[in-house]
């Protein structure tokens, strides 16, 4: 089974600074990391490969530095990595990105065939979650988002079952191969990479393709030109007020919590009893 994982290098938004004037992210203020959801997608691909055999290839669009994100995937256990990198891709929104990735997948399919595509649920720098489904639609395969479990993959009969996280629990869906899944973090734990993977990753040079390496590309659909998204306004999210910390020994803490409940929920009060 050939599993393809689409990954992205992102600034670590846990520590990134926001430019107070323009409200844009100051990308130089945070190190570039592999999008955390994508790490889980790679881990899942590696897990499936262990069961069903085959190969895991990662695919990314980004600047040359994104090779480091691909190396991170090799640490997790990916076999190969391909970076599509070209100035003509720059400034792409999710529509143009999914078009570029789609073109790369087409090319990979020609030589290798692709049985399953995995993506992270979303990238932590944009939080849109649109690129994966965009690729699926262009390929004409089912997009299954928010996946928390993959099971019963039947490579012969081209079927699989997934659990999708929904508001009040999960739903189980049967689908066909190839499908494109976007995964939640709870799908697995990214394992502590073994040393040989680390050494292989340090040595690894991903293949880098530019626009001309892809076939039948409509340049108008790439990069800034192919991106209809307009950013209307940007503002920083409101700072959460922060949780109230309750300390003391367990008995004190229980009393403090009960007091809050009794007050807020009006438990045991006249007003509360009426509800």
């Amino acid at each position: 089974m050939h599993i393809l994982v689409c990954i992205k290098q992102v600034p670590d938004t846990k520590i990134i600074k926001v430019n107070p004037k323009t409200n844009t992210l100051d990308r130089s203020s945070a190190p570039a990391i592999l999008n955390p959801y994508d790490a889980h997608a790679v881990e899942e691909a590696v897990r499936l490969r262990k069961i069903y055999g085959g190969k895991v290839t990662v695919l990314s669009m980004g600047p040359p530095q994104a090779r480091n994100a691909i190396r991170k995937c090799v640490e997790i256990g990916a076999d190969e990595g391909i970076l599509i990198s070209d100035r003509r891709f720059a400034g792409a929104d999710t529509l143009a990105t999914s078009y570029a990735l789609f073109k790369a997948v087409e090319k990979i399919q020609k030589t290798d065939g692709v049985d399953l595509i995995l993506c992270g649920k979303h990238a932590i720098d944009g939080d849109t979650g649109q690129t994966g489904p965009g690729v699926a639609r262009r390929l004409g395969i089912p997009p299954l988002t928010c996946v928390i479990r993959v099971e019963d993959v039947d490579v012969e009969n081209r079927t699989l079952k997934v659990h999708r996280k929904v508001e009040e629990g999960y739903e189980v869906i049967a689908s066909t191969l190839p499908s494109l899944l976007t995964v939640e973090k709870e799908i697995n734990e990214v394992s502590w990479a073994p040393l040989p993977n680390m050494i292989r990753a340090a040595r690894y040079e991903p293949s880098v393709w530019n626009v001309d390496d892809l076939d039948d590309v409509d340049i108008k659909q790439l990069g800034l030109k192919g991106s209809p998204t307009i950013v209307g306004k940007m503002w920083p999210p409101e700072k959460s007020k922060g949780a109230k910390m309750i300390s003391g020994d367990p008995a004190d803490q229980t009393v403090a919590v009960m007091k809050i409940f009794m007050k807020e929920q009006e438990l045991f009060t006249k007003a509360g009893r009426k509800n």
Partner: protein, 431 residues
């Protein structure tokens, strides 16, 4: 059996990276293992990088390395509670090529330096802790890491794992350092606008100042405080021998707070925002504490070998030079295909022939002497301040009278003989 390399270097600080760089450049197959998230992520230094030894590894590094400011002025403060006697040298030629030394932030510098070793062909692996050396028949043949399938083998293992060097200890090269063999240093990086720094320190954009502070900065303990200018931040720190802190029951962060709020220091820090707080040991045992340096298939470099000149706060340069010399000995060993202690001993010999060995030897008794004789820090610096005060206060008494009063002041409490003996002792250990 895991992968095999010519050399495994443990630790991507200045010592390890210099070694990896030099060995890789000579065509050896090098694995550099670092426990931090990236090289420098855990490393601490006051911040003075010496041009000379760095240049011997990467010529004209200043053209691309992430440096803060070239130091054009070195100030020395001998500080009492409310006064100080200072001396300094400022030379604008230090602000031009080839420079003298630079302030650096290690998190940036180490990362860059390691990337240069990678360019030379070394393989760098981060977030991996070497837990022990693999020893077969008394020979080090590789290392074990904390990762699954974590064994990896090499002809030579270089221990560049810094001051604690648990690996050197586990091989029996040295014992746990005694509290008077290490200094505990704490420092803060404080953000301050470039313009403010320039005005406060009387410099221009690409000029830096280093200040070494003796005396009340350590409340009389053996040690120093320092204040260095980065581009748009300051490094302020203080360190004393661990034994001193234990004896005086001082907490390091209390001492740093004391320095930061000292009336001589405080105005320089006004408005600074603490960006980082760091604590680290510095090996200060000197010559007498240098452990065994070479074994079959193994050498030890940098802080792990106690290569620090505490008097001149030189550590990173000794680390680099020792790393480079180790690599050269390994290249030589590779040529003849013999990695026994006898061949690798070339490194030890070269090291003792170089400035590292010579400087360590020159100052071999300094720390121990000053540690045993606290009067230098505790008494003489206040006395110096009193003398200056007396001399420069215009109170109508003739200067001649003042001079004789000052000399009497010096000898009154201790007696002439004690003072003379102290002076001779200090001269002897420093000469």
């Amino acid at each position: 059996m895991g992968d095999r390399f010519d050399v495994i270097v443990v630790g991507a600080g200045p010592a390890g990276t210099s070694c990896a760089y030099t060995a890789a450049k000579s065509g050896l197959n090098v694995l550099l293992i670092e426990r931090g998230e990236y090289p420098g992520s855990k490393n601490v230094m006051g911040g003075i990088l010496y041009r000379k030894q760095m240049e011997e590894i990467i010529p004209e590094f200043w053209k691309e390395a992430p440096l803060e400011r070239p130091v054009v002025e070195q100030r020395f403060w001998f500080m009492d509670r409310e006064s100080m006697v200072t001396s300094s040298y400022k030379g604008l030629e230090w602000g031009r090529e080839p420079y003298n030394n630079f302030t650096v932030l290690r998190a940036k510098f180490d990362q860059w330096f390691a990337s240069k070793a990678v360019e030379q062909g070394a393989l760098l692996i981060n977030e991996t802790v070497v837990t022990e050396c693999i020893v077969e028949d008394g020979r080090v043949v590789g290392v074990r890491t904390d990762r699954p399938d974590g064994d990896v083998y090499a002809d030579v293992v270089v221990l560049a794992d810094g001051v604690n060097s648990l690996l050197g200890k586990s091989l029996g090269f040295h014992k746990e350092w005694k509290p008077d063999e290490v200094a505990l240093t704490v420092m803060e990086v404080m953000n301050l606008p470039k313009k403010t720094i320039n005005e406060r320190f009387n410099v221009e954009d690409n000029q830096g100042v280093s200040i070494e502070i003796f005396g009340d900065s350590t409340q009389g303990l053996l040690g120093t405080a320092f204040l260095y200018t980065n581009k748009d931040s300051l490094n302020i720190g203080v360190g004393t021998t661990l034994s001193g802190m234990i004896k005086k029951k001082l907490k390091p962060y209390h001492l740093l707070e004391y320095v930061k709020t000292h009336p001589m220091v405080k105005p320089y820090l006004e408005g600074g925002e603490t960006a980082e707080y760091l604590a680290h040991l510095i090996p200060e045992g000197g010559y007498k504490s240098v452990p065994r340096l070479v074994g079959d298939g193994v050498v030890i470099v940098g802080d792990a070998a106690q290569f620090v000149n505490a008097i001149h706060r030189e550590g990173s340069n000794m680390a680099m030079s020792s790393g480079k010399m180790a690599a050269e000995a390994i290249v030589r060993a590779k040529e003849i295909g013999d990695f026994t202690e006898r061949t690798l001993d070339h490194y030890r010999k070269e090291l003792y022939r170089s400035f590292v060995g010579k400087d360590l030897k020159k100052y071999k008794d300094v720390t121990h002497t000053f540690e045993d004789h606290p009067q230098y820090m505790a008494d003489y610096i206040p006395m110096l301040n009193k003398a200056a005060n007396k001399f420069f206060t215009v109170d109508g008494s003739p200067k001649k009278q003042k001079q004789s009063d000052i000399i009497k002041g010096f000898t009154k409490d201790k007696g002439k003989i004690t003072v003379a003996r102290d002076l001779i002792r200090a001269w002897k250990v420093m000469k």
